[in-house]
Amino acid sequence: MSLIVEGLTKRFGAHAALESVSFTLQRGGFLALLGPSGSGKTTLLRLLGGLEHADGGAVTYEGQDWLGVPTRERRAGLVFQHYALFRHMRVADNIAFGLRVRPRRERPRRAEIARRVDELLALVQLEGLGDPYPNQLSGGQRQRVALARALAIEPKLLLLDEPFGALDAKVRKDLRRWLRNLHDRLGLTTIFVTHDQEEALDLADDVAVMNEGRIEQIDSPQNVYSHPKTAFIAEFLGGSNRLRGTVSGGRFIVDGVALPTNGARVPDGETMAFVRPHEFAFAGNGEPAIPATVTNVLAAGSTVRIDCSRQNGEVVEVALPNGARPPQIGEHVHLKVLVHRLYPAQL
């Protein structure tokens, strides 16, 4: 009983928005589609919601040919970044919409609809707020109304497109914890699209990292972060610095300094190393380290962020725990690499 996507393809003119995307999502799972804009994540979501037609591939959900089910019969609950609430309807009417448009014999009685709406308002913590129009609510409230409206049809699949993108940071964080709780409590199957890696890693059971219409890796947040499969993911996640060097004889050589490859299986030749800011440290005497010059120091927050200019002029970003003595601008330093991920350089 799961969602199986096989070889899903979508083209807009000559541009391939999705290229043979395949994955499986267990019922009750929470999947994040993460990627830069234009990576195809929204297209994938819209295909699953029935808002676009696929050019190829198959989707099976609970044993059913999902792409063959008409949009209005899929019971896919959609939530958009800008809420897309029916602006001329009161909140309660927005939520009741999915129940009221049912064919007469399936439509609940009026009293039953009112009861369901009250229940859903309570569920999204908006008790007694059925009367206002959407534009009288705050952004966070509107998004919860949109969610209640989607939940009213008891969705088989909840599809969220950047649901927190238009909200401010504090509301965003609260709402995403709350959404995760709701998902677990109601036993929903959820797919949500985001370009915010922190959100994806924090919220989802599985993260699918997308790039140029493909899923580059689909894995647990931990694995995606610690063991990125491709150079793209290694650079995309965690604000990595990119060091171009050469691998030869089991060493990675950059700026004339030989670093251990830490057992990475990379063929000899041009190689790219990705190092996150906190994976640098200042080196002691005699340790292999990259020489650099401090160009900027930002000491606010839990870490000190230091920009260092390497010999070739490329700037790397270093983050040290706050408390250590920060270096001065212009100071010459030696950077030790604690962790790096190596990928053959693409031509």
Binding site: G49, R72, E73, L78, F80, V101, N135
Partner: protein, 296 residues
């Protein structure tokens, strides 16, 4: 309260002592306003007043008598009939076109947008002549229509055609920007919630554009009843049969029946003023709703 008066007490003198760069001397302001008002008075208000003065020149009884002429009554009825056909037709066309343009991407979309504006840029007389060329007895389709027993030119169908052409853009032009601004997401959500196409249209799309729609229909109606040029060409001026109110005004005027001409004209003027009044009221309402919709 205290704070408010204190603030205004400070700001008022400072505004006088340092006039802004855009603040004109009093004399310029007064002159400009006088010119604007004088112009409007001379070219808009005065003629309107003149219409009613001329219409009532021989008294109220004469006014109503001239409206009670069989020809005048026929003209009023015909005008209402033509508008009653042309406006709904353009309502349907306008909504369809606006829907297609705002909600779908297709080839030839920009061409369609341009074509909708065509009646605004083409002289109505030419529109009338084109219909004569197509449908008159010696026109392209004339013989075929004649053998089918249908007369278009110099008959009511011709009047309707010409009016539809001229009032073609009003509804669509009002709807397109509103619909484009609103995007497709609400409709997409509605469908995904299980609504049919019709339910989506009547419960989501239409209520969202209702003010723009009413506004467009009003303008369309005003123009449909007031159109002269295109209608004049296809009408043939058969008294009591193919003469609409604007044409009746011309006929009466040419007959030196000034009271009659201005009595009918006063009805048209009254219609125009009513349209303006309703439009203004709607703009209040519509403006408030638009502002509310945009508040994010």
């Amino acid at each position: 309260m205290d704070r408010e008066t204190a603030v205004s007490g400070i700001s008022a003198p400072s505004r006088i002592s340092s006039p802004g760069a855009l603040e004109e001397p009093r004399i310029v302001k007064v002159t400009l306003i006088a010119i604007a008002l004088g112009f409007i008075g001379l070219f808009l208000v005065l003629p309107l007043v003149a219409v009613f003065i001329e219409a009532f020149r021989n008294g109220i009884a004469a006014y109503f008598a001239s409206l009670n002429e069989p020809d005048a009554i026929a003209a009023i009825k015909l005008t209402l009939l033509v508008a009653a056909i042309a406006v709904p037709l353009n309502l349907i066309f306008g909504v369809t076109a606006a829907w297609a343009i705002a909600k779908f991407d297709f080839r030839g979309k920009s061409l369609l947008i341009t074509l909708i504006d065509l009646p605004f840029s083409v002289s109505p007389v030419i529109a009338g002549l084109v219909y004569v060329l197509l449908f008159a007895a010696r026109g392209w389709f004339g013989p075929a229509l004649e053998s089918a027993g249908m007369q278009i030119i110099f008959a009511v169908p011709g009047l309707v055609l010409a009016t539809v052409f001229v009032t073609f853009p009003f509804v669509a032009r009002e709807l397109i920007p509103v619909m484009q601004e609103q995007g497709r997401e609400e409709e997409e959500v509605a469908i995904s919630l299980g609504a049919t196409g019709w339910q989506t249209f009547f419960r989501v799309t239409l209520p969202n554009v209702k003010w723009a729609l009413i506004y467009g229909v009003l303008l369309c109606n005003a123009r449909a009843m007031g159109e002269f040029g295109a209608v004049s060409v296809v009408s043939g001026h058969i008294r009591g049969q193919t003469v609409t109110m604007p044409l009746q005004v011309e006929i009466l005027y040419n007959d030196y029946n000034l009271v009659g001409a201005f009595a009918v004209a006063s009805l048209l003027a009254g219609l125009a003023m009513l349209t303006l009044a309703v439009k203004t009221v709607l703009e209040w309402q519509y403006g408030a709703e638009l502002a509310a919709g945009r508040r994010d």
